[in-house]
Symmetry: C2
Subunit: 252 residues, 2 copies
């Protein structure tokens, strides 16, 4: 029960959990694009449960930020703004630096083997679909988080990583994840060597480069809701938006 011990968060082994996991996976593999509608009864029917359960699952996913829930409206896969994507990556960098700091030089042989096996799998899937590569790359990071044996850290890293996946599918063009794989190998090596500072900086630059490759521009706004596109123009009241304005870019 080593890695899998933590996640008893109101979602394991019950039907809600099944739906959550399925949707999460569908979302990060881009089978469900941002903006995709998720009506309760379709979901319920598809998974053979009642709306009540589907609804509950949507609630959980909304709490994780993967789904947007507006009152009396059909739930949709979340469409993070460019700024939110950037924020997510910033948070992710800090969290994952913490992960590798805790892990540096403390991995067991078994854990190292697990990590290597995973990266090999990433390598093997390199000629598969992009979606699978992204999922595997994400799971590498979550795997690392699991090894800290800190349920809270696992939860946050997972959430924010999934969120980043989501933004990747929004703002990124078909990117070659090959280099990412090598970076993963580098991180493992540094972890084994136990060089805390080195591995933290490696993780930092790894994530930063992923973010920069993905979030180069405020994005082509590959047209989802026309309403969304116009949203920035509405921007009611908003009195004290002063913080982090340096790199703000007007959408279109």
């Amino acid at each position: 029960m080593a890695p899998r011990s933590a996640g008893k968060n109101a979602e394991s082994s019950d039907k809600v959990g099944v739906i959550c996991r399925a949707l999460r996976r569908a979302i990060i593999e881009q089978a469900l694009e941002p903006g995709a509608k998720l009506p309760e009864d379709s979901l319920g029917e598809r998974f053979g449960v009642s709306r009540t359960i589907a609804r509950h699952a949507l609630g959980q996913l909304a709490a994780e930020g993967l789904v947007e829930l507006r009152r009396n409206r059909i739930a949709v896969v979340a469409t993070p703004s460019w700024q939110e994507a950037r924020d997510a990556f910033d948070i992710r960098i800090e969290l994952e630096r913490l992960v590798v700091r805790q892990l540096a030089g403390k991995l067991t042989k078994a854990q190292i083997a697990t990590l290597n096996a995973h990266v090999d799998a990433e390598d093997g899937a390199r000629d598969g679909t992009d979606a699978v590569s992204i999922r595997l790359a994400t799971e590498f990071h979550i795997l690392l988080a699991h090894m800290t044996n800190s349920p809270i850290l696992v939860r946050y890293v997972s959430e924010v990583a999934y969120r980043c996946c989501l933004t990747l599918s929004l703002y990124s063009r078909p990117h070659s994840s090959e280099c990412a794989i090598n970076e993963h190998r580098g991180i493992i090596a540094a972890l084994v060597k136990g060089d805390e500072a080195k591995v933290m900086s490696l993780m930092h630059s790894h994530l930063d480069s992923v973010a920069n490759r993905a979030l180069v521009a405020p994005a082509p706004q590959r047209g989802r809701d026309l309403l969304d596109i116009l949203a920035p123009y509405a921007d009611e009241g908003e009195s004290d938006r002063v913080v982090k304005m340096p790199k703000v870019v007007r959408v279109r």
Copy 2:
């Protein structure tokens, strides 16, 4: 609409949100101690809604880690282990360093005033109950997070701060929060001055000292569930628990 704008996370204006907020507050003010039972129908009755809604609210709080949900069992207020408490603080430190890093030198006059007013309120409540002091101190940090204008950061800081509150109520003795207030003032001053490094280190040591004051020992286990107390002894299988063992302390 400065601070209160962000949190539309599937919980505002609907009954679920009302219950969530009420319970959250009750929990962090220790009106509900860790381990307290939260039966769905009592909750529903108390808030004038059906079990369905109460259930949904519990689900949200469980996702935040404030409530523990075990299948077919009455929900209870979460009882984080000492290790989880330590982990929560570690994460919190990183997140809040990020907050002040983003905020340093970027606060508006209005925001500074808001912060000062809040600290004054903390000061004013110093002779009130401990619970209120803790809540106000926590809200100071959440207020800061709001000012980053990053909903994701707000969510995570809030969650982890609430969690820390929870652990405070478990493992801490009546602590004087007076010094904390001064530390808050110091942080504001450094933020205004715009000294990024300084304010990050201030925040770090502030949180670290709060954590150390609270989590000096694995805690007197002020007896909730005797089962919980015995849990560490059971510790089934647990093959590869290698990480972060340095500072582990046996319970009792």
